[in-house]
């Protein structure tokens, strides 16, 4: 069965147009995974409130306009939604044919970052800054193209019915495909994104049914790679310091440990119900750096308390749970791998982001999906939602 077919399954004539058609039993709207959509939408709404709370007093960065970040965050979400609709419209299977092009484009963009066109933000040379306050972080999109590219390679022979599992050569090819952009991103150096990509590769390999040897081999290689990175001083000092501060937060509380310490104070002081939106003194006092982006969860922790912060975790759980379901219930391996890759990506990135604010993960510069301020990240996660929706929409209807 192909995607095109599932669209044609519709048994209604062209006269049944408009609202009725939109909500017909087998229409796209009815087939969408609404829990994911609603959870992601709610996360974006909460995100915009938190971003607003964190930035409305930041005259140093909001150019005197308290709504500067709020408006941009809503705009980003809107663009993200549009991208999602576009992806659903095109369909993940059609996109499959464009994967080489997308892959090439994303690698080109990250190479561009390494040229003088790229900019350094917070120690990572991973941005392309356009005028007017807009900038692009191509590594966000690389995450998608790695998923799509690897899925394309790994699923091709299996979906064609030639093989039960991808063979070694295919796995090697897929790994090579992922390794190229990862190496470039590591050079930026954007360690956080590389970590996410490693997890994505692991998730993709797991879902593809590749031999256990590959899975464990990759885990081992990852461990060795981490040691090598440490030993060969590929990491900058600030990155090593982050790990040191993670291991011992009381180390130099004014310096490296400051972020984690203040983040934990902010979250801890929230208690059950929080200080109330816009009433967090840690937030108002700007004690937590990068609070609208990587540390946005601390705003939720302080102002919305355990209830609000817990809700974010639950909503992320809804997205991930449904995505896992989609992965399991899709008939084609390509869809499964894409969904699983997205699960690995969202799950690890959320865990790392929230975990670092809670002091159980080292600090890296990763945004919280849907919630953190940042265009590229927002676009990427909504494209991913689009892919998930496309997979579920194009799935054959169960009886």
């Amino acid at each position: 069965m192909t995607g095109a077919n599932s669209f044609q399954v519709s048994g209604y004539g062209p006269e049944r147009a408009g609202w009725t058609r939109l909500f017909a039993r087998d229409s796209v709207t009815r087939r969408l995974d609404w829990p994911i959509l609603l959870a992601a939408g709610l996360l974006s709404v909460i995100g915009s409130l938190l971003v607003f709370s964190a930035t409305r007093n930041r005259t140093d960065i909001n150019q005197g306009d308290p709504y500067y970040f709020l408006i941009r965050h809503i705009m980003n979400t809107g663009i993200g939604l549009a991208l999602m609709i576009g992806v659903i419209w095109i369909g993940h299977r059609t996109l499959r044919t464009a994967v080489p092009l997308l892959y090439g484009l994303s690698v080109f963009l990250i190479l561009l970052v390494l040229t003088p066109l790229g900019s350094t933000v917070n120690g990572a040379h991973s941005w392309i800054v356009f005028g007017g306050g807009f900038s692009l972080q191509p590594s966000e999109f690389v995450k998608i193209t790695i998923i799509l590219g690897m899925a394309m390679l790994l699923a091709a022979r299996v979906d064609a019915g030639d093989k039960e599992y991808p063979d070694h050569r295919t796995v090697l090819q897929a790994l090579g495909l992922a390794a190229v952009p990862m190496a470039i991103v590591l050079l930026m150096p954007d360690l956080g994104s590389v970590m996410v990509m490693v997890i994505i590769v692991l998730g993709v390999l797991l879902a593809s049914g590749a031999s256990n040897r590959w899975v464990f081999g990759l885990l081992g290689a990852g461990a060795i790679g981490a040691i090598a990175v440490w030993q060969l001083h590929i990491l900058d000092e600030y990155q090593i310091n982050r790990f040191a501060a993670f291991a011992n937060p009381s180390l130099d509380p004014a310096g490296v440990g400051y972020n984690t310490n203040q983040a934990r104070i902010a979250i801890g002081s929230g208690g059950l119900l929080g200080a109330g939106l816009f009433h967090g003194s840690q937030t108002t006092g700007q004690f937590v750096p990068e609070q609208q982006t990587d540390f946005v969860f601390t705003v939720a922790g302080e102002e919305l308390g355990f209830v609000g912060a817990g809700l974010i975790v639950v909503l992320l759980g809804v997205v991930l749970w449904r995505a896992c379901r989609i992965a399991r219930e899709t008939t084609d391996l390509y869809g499964t791998i894409v969904a699983a890759g997205i699960v690995a990506w969202f799950a690890f990135q959320s865990f790392e982001n929230i975990g670092m604010t809670l002091g159980i993960m080292p600090v890296t510069g990763l945004p919280l999906p849907f919630v953190s301020y940042g265009g590229s990240s927002m676009f990427a996660v909504w494209i991913a939602v689009g892919l998930l929706q496309s997979i579920t929409v194009q799935r054959p209807m169960s009886a």
Partner: protein
Amino acid sequence: MTNIPETGRSTRVQTRLVVIQILVLSLLGTLGGRLWYLQIREGSAYAKEASGNHVQQVVDPAVRGSILDARGVPLADNETRLVVSASRTDLLKMKDDGKAVLTKLAGVLGMKPQEVMEKVRLCDAKTPQPCWNGSPYQPIPITDEATPKQALQIRERAEDFPGITAEPQAVRRYPSPGGANTAQVLGYLSPVTDDEIQQAQDTDSPYLRSDQVGRSGLERQYDKALRGKAGVTRYEVDNLGRVIGEAESDAAQPGDNLVTSIDARVQRIAEYELNEAMKTARGEFDKNTGENYKADSGAVVVMEAKTGRVVAMASNPTYDPNAWVGGISAADYKKLTGKDSNYPLLNRAIQGQSAPGSTFKVISTAAAVEAGYDFDGGYPCTSSYSVGNQVFKNFESENFGPISLGRALEVSCDTVFYGLAHKEWQKDGGINPKKNANDYFFKAAHQFGLGKETGIDLPNEVTGRVPDRAWKQSYWEANKDAWCKTGKKDGSYVEKIAYENCLEGNKMRAGDEINYSIGQGDTLVTPIQMATIYAAISNGGTLYDPTVGKAVISADGKKVTEIEPTSHGKLPISKATRNKMDAALAGVATRGTAAWRFQNWPQDEIAMHAKTGTAEVYGKQTTSWFATYTKDYTVVMTISQAGTGSGASGPAVRKIYDALYGVQEDGSVDKKKALLPTPQKSLPKVRTDGTIAAPKITEDPAKKEKATEPGERAPADDQQGATTATPTGQNRNTRRRRRCTPRRGGSTGRRMLT
């Protein structure tokens, strides 16, 4: 391919997808658990840390209240100094962190720029002094000795000195009106300690790091009232310390003023005369030790007899309390507290204790009456009293034959009291006492308030000691090991004593009680205790808690809290006994041991009562005691290592009375010259603005004394005093003459006279 489920999926993929799902769930569960731990379990701790994070306090110190004398003359007040300070937050807003401003400021103040910079930097582990260890939100003082000209320069060119202020600030001052320094009574201030800051942190009156706290005397006793309440403004600040809002603010409340019963003029006289008496004593030759008297310390208390209020209290050696202002120097501190300092910080009127000598006899008299002996009975005043092979001499008088208790007081006849005490000792069972021993002599001492604090409103008063059976037992238990170790039956004198003590130091021996009855031995009293007792005899029997504070008046003058006299008991004597005792003590002043000191005293106009005392101290020269009272005042003076009661202390006490009542040399009373013929009853007048009216004391009240001071000398010990109506012509003072009389260890009498 056989196990393809509905989705057309191999089981391996399906299993792995379930594994992924479980992994994802456990990651989220971990986050939830950690979130619960931080926010719910540890939430309150983090909330506390957060509030400390972003609230900064700026404390506006309260002006410390003044300490005034009974007429309103300030004994301790504040002087205004021009303090130039810098606001760190303002300086940090400048491009160069305020370096240019500070350099300019250094120029104006005539300091080195480096010096100024160092003063405003914050202290931390790496920064050596000088540095600022207070709150960075507090203006940091650069100098408190700016001249008005410098202050004007800074203020007029405010735009050149952003963040710099030159403002008058209150600094403690002890003005010593008329030369009365009152040092030990006033006490002193010293900087607050970290512990105290911690303790006061959550109270309604937190300390500033720069705060001064009363450490002794009135400054300490009334610290809370005097200190007032510092104003606190809490600012919410952001991570860079910029103020983002004012949380709450309380205005500073200046401290209350303390009106004391001290009269600065009388205080000055008392201090001056005490010092003169000691100087004179040092010129006297002590035949017993073969050197001049050391007169190393002394104290005098002038008290209102009917209220217990202290009019003057002097302790010698003394010091200048201003030494503490603005932080005491190391050299000064050593001078005040070092080994060779003779501890001028001690207030010997309440912290000095010694055996009371014959001033104790009023207690023995009361005890005897209590025990059933007739006051007017006849008791043999022999020249010595023998118990077994011990002979107790009558040191202070000669053989008068049978005399009344009153007469025994007058002439300070020891043997009368020896006999009574010994009889009581025997009645109580002797060396092996019966169960319910009466112990009249010891009970009386307790009833007179000895062995415990008088309750004066000054800190660290000592209790003295009544060497009763309980004390002997505990003292023996504490020391017997040492005694038994060093004691030898046939060793040196000290070793023999130790041997005796080891055997029966816990028992009340005949000699112990006999010596005790005349105020010798292990008894210890403080001058304030004696003053309280003699005031009680004067006022009809009430033992007042002595007070120095008379009223606490709020800074605006609206709230006046008077400190009423309170008593801690009644003397165990009937009115008749009191009257007889009163007459006997008047006899001491007119024809007894103190008469030669009260020549020309207008006794009919102002009835004078006195008792002399000379206490033995083992290894030292004798302690001079002189306890006196009129109907309004009690004056007790004691000088350590200075000889006899009337000899060393007599002239000084007489001169204090002369000044109080305006008694002239010829015995006439010049009411105009009287400083305080009746105690100051009313409080000083409070003006509408809260300030307190005070007469000015421009001249030293002791000056006229200096002019009239004759080169008067006490008669040499062995000679007949140049006294008047002493019926016997023999007793002049209470001097006991014994060499090396041991008074320690409880085995006194026997040893010394064998």
